[in-house]
Each structure stands twice: as C-alpha cells, then as structure tokens.
Amino acid sequence: MAEHAPAAGRLLDPHILLYLDGVTVSFDGFKALDSLSLVLEEGELRTVIGPNGAGKTTMMDVITGKTRPDAGVVLFKGGVDLLRLDETGIARLGIGRKFQRPAVFDRLTVQENLELATQGGWSVRRLIAGRLDAQSAERIEHTLETIGLAELRHEEAGRLAHGQRQWLEIGMLLVQQPRLVLLDEPVAGMSDAETAKTAELILRLKGRHTILVVEHDMHFVRTLGAKVTVLHEGKVLAEGPVEAIQSDPAVVEVYLGRS
C-alpha cells in the first residue's frame, strides 16, 4: 500500500476528521474507485453526488471497512489508519452509517429500536438485569424530538411510513453519538414533504456531527447548500459550493445534463 508523505502532514491539522488519498478499488479489473481523494473537516456537512455506478457506495464501503481497497490511504482523526481496523473496530471509533436500504427492526417499537442502538457492547448480564442510564435515556428522548418521532415512540417500526423509518434509522445512528455520520441516499423514495423534513433534520445536525451525504436528488442537495463533491467513474470530477458545481460544464455533461 502506497504511503503518501503528505498524509502525515495533513493530519497534523486538527480540523481534519477523515482523509482519503489515492484510494483504488477494482472488481475484476473494473475500477469502481480510481485513485480517489477526499478530505472532510470536523463538523463539516458534505454532499457527494454522481451518476449511477460512480462509486459513491463503494467509497462508503471503504470508509466503514466493508471493502478493502487495492491501494490508497484512509485515515481518521489523529492519524488512525482505518485500513487496519475491521468493521466493528471502525464502528467503535464513532463512524456510523445509514445504508441505502432502511434496516430498522420492524417488530420493535421506535423507542426499543433506539434503546437497542445505545446498548451495543452491553454484557448479557446487563442485558438481562440492567437499565438504561439516565444519560442514555435523555439522549434517546432528545433524539426522539430531533427526528420528530416522539409521539410515535410506542409504535412498531414496521408500521411507520417510509420516511419515518428512514428518520428512525438516522436516530439510531445519532444515539450512538457518532463523530462521522455517513448517509447513503437518505431521501430515496421519499415524498417531497418527507424530503424537505429530512433536509431540515440534516441541517439541524450540522455542526453537531460531521456528516457525509450521498444523494441523487439535486433539489435536496441545493437545499442542504453544503460543499459538493462530484464523483464520476471512481474519481473526483469537481468539488465546490453547489452554485459553482451546477454551472461547471464538465459536471453538467456527465451528470446534471442527464437528470
């Protein structure tokens, strides 16, 4: 694996939370990621866009340890080499991920789902006899308000509307107090009203967490108004504020022109 000299230098900067450089992932010779570089600052909200197959999900797979890159550097705050950790180790560092397909537990209530998310790492004994500490209970309460499901706390997750399930899943990430939140297409399949509420939710989280959002919906991306990274064929095609990106001819050609 290529060790890039600038990596260490960049990481001396305490504002940087995530650092990707030269990350390459090949599937049978096809490069899903091709020497990808990306730097996220602490507290930043970043959107990543790109056409289907651009490598957005693969990038998240690399960050969370699901996929091992063939080459490149992936570092977390303080110079922690994520490529040396497994999925559990990376999750414990405080990197939480929402998958494209919602994965809440349908048979548990909203509140039970959130409780379960805070109980990771509990021993069996504690799972039998233990109670939630006041701090976690408060965090759950707070999260219920944030995701707007406080009234539905005793509803089974399986009975929620699509958008509510997505918010619940975001809530399950939040109660774990992640340092980095990865959201893969959070508004896919949502109604316009749900999409607007999701944008509000993410904007409310901005500053409290570092958030990386992958999304196709340009209207949503504009609403977030954050810095945008455009991926194309596994590479960064452009990066900058939404307005600049939208008028970038290269971006318009590969992506915006088509949708």
Partner: protein, 381 residues
Amino acid sequence: MTASPRGPSRPALLLFAVGVAILLVPICNRLVPEDSAFHLEDRFVPLFGKYLAYAVLAVSLDLVWGRAGILSLGHGAFFALGGYAMGMYLMRQIGPRGVYAHPILPDFMVFLNWQELPWYWYGFDRFWFAMFMVVVVPGTLAFLFGWLAFRSRVSGVYLSIITQALTFALMLAFFRNEMGFGGNNGLTDFKDILGFPIASPDTRLALYLATGALLLLALAVAIQLRRAPLGRLLVAIRDGEARARFLGHDTLRAKLFVWTLSAVLAGLAGALYVPQVGIINPSEFSPAASIEIAIWVAVGGRDTVLGPVLGALLVNGMKTWLTGTLPELWLFVLGGLFVLVTLAFPGGLAGIAGTFAHRIGRTPRPGTAGLAPSPAEVARG
C-alpha cells in the same frame, strides 16, 4: 423500562391463571367426589403430568425459535439427556430389588455380564448429584454445540439440519448396549423416587405438581426475558443479525446464552417426564420426536407466552386420543395440522386468539397476530 405500555400486573395475572389451570387436575382428582362427572381418575394424573413436561419443552424451544429465530430440530436430545440423568438415579434406587437381585448393578448390566458399574454411573445413587447432572449435561452439550455453530455463523436451515444430526447421532449411540444406558430398552422398571413408591397416587400427584411448578418457572423466565433488553436484542438477531452486530452487539453471546438456557429447561422437563411415564429409551432422541416439538410450537404460536403451552397440550391431547382410536391416522393428522397452520394461520392458536381479541376491541394492539414469519422464513430458520 418505559417501553412497555402495558401494566406491570399482566404477567403476574397470566402466571396466576396458568397456576389455577394446573391446579384443576389435583382438584378434580382429590376434591371432586368419585361419582361426579368431573372426577379425574388416578391413572390420568401422570398423563397430564406428561403433557405439562411437554409444555415446558415447547416453552424452551420457543425461547430459541420464536424469539431468537434459531430453529432447533434437536431439542429432543436435551430433553432425553435430562431424562436419562433422572433415569440413572431411578435405576440405582432399585438396588437389590431387580430381577437379578444384584446389590448395585442394574439388571441390564448383569444381563450383559458386566462385573462392575461403569465410572459414569458413579454418584447417580444420590439425588442431588443426579439433579446436578440433569442441568449440567444438556447445558454443557448445548454450550459447546452452540459455541461451535454460532461462532462459525451457522444459521437458518443449516443449523436446523445439524441439530437433527446431533440428536440422530445420540440416538444411534444410546441404542448401543456397550454404551451402558440399557441400549434399545433404555431404563425402566423404576421402583421409587426419594424413597416414595413411584407409582403410588400420592407420588404421582406430587410429580405432577412439581412439573406444574417447573412450567410456571419456565413461563416466568420467558416473560422476564421478553421484557428485558436481551429479549429485544433476540428479536433483532432473529430479524437481522448482521444489523444487530453492526450496532455493536455481541450476538454470539446473546444466542449462546438463550440457547444454553433453553437446553437446561428442556433437560429439566425430561427429568420430570421420566418418573411419570416410567421409562426412558433412545426413541426420545429420534429426529422425528424433535420435529414434533417444533410442530407444537408452530401450532400454538411462535414468540408468544402461552402459545407453546397450548400447542403442546392440544397436539398431544389429540395424539393420545387418535393413537388410541385410529393410530394409522395420527401422522397424517399431524402433518396436515402443520401444513394448515403454516399456510393459513402463521400466528398459530395464539395468533388467532390475538386477532379475535383485537377485532372485538379488547386489546389496544393485536399483540402476536401475524407475528410469525412466513413459511419461507421458517425454512431459513
């Protein structure tokens, strides 16, 4: 916990109701006059005791299958091991009263020309030791088996198949005379337990009540487990183990705990079953016997407190009645019942009751209705 919208007295009420139902047998047997239509003859007491032991077995299977999604088709093995441990104690209680009147060796060993007691029969003349083994043998086997299986992430239908293999292998082993467990005939001709004649009406009633107490204990454990965070985690493991792991949960430990607990309960049920039916033999290890347990649970309703109990009572009641009147029909009825329940009533009896209660508006939520997975999910375990 704030999560339960129901009052705390519900489980207590339920246990109380089951306790009262259990007491119907001694009441009808002892208090109702003999000429009354409700009088229960002494000879039926051990039959009901047997049903209660099966009910405990069903509750134990439901803990792993209904709650955690681990479909064991080998729970009969844990039941039989508990039964054999009790049987060994009962054999040693016979002492010199056997046909061959040997002071120590059970009849079948004398018959095989054995000169001394195998080492693994030592200690079984003491009740406390036998009870210890009733818990430890099924528990240890389950722990080791579960550790190997869950650690290699064997699940679903593959796990079901290896549990069948486990019980089948044990059946073949226990059939062998050289194993020292009475081979084909198993252990039988028991005389007394803790000094009381085993076939006397009083002893039988006491054994019945002990089984009833065990059932209440098993139900209390099941209720407590569902209310605890562990109960939620098991549901999460059932519906998406990878996701539960991703939340930072050690799913291996949670599964291993409930699996071992379930095997211990099954072993205790077996230990109370043996003195009431008067025999334990290798047929209890047969793969078909274990499949029947799963049918009781499916019929009663998975992941419900009372469903497994109702299923065990109903199916075994039918079995007693049909094998007495039309024995050749029994297997068809059993198979048909299973198919009917899986296709038409996936929630089992408890599911039907839950839906009905919901319709007439007595409960705020349908509870268990439709809770059971589809047949396809059953196949996956």
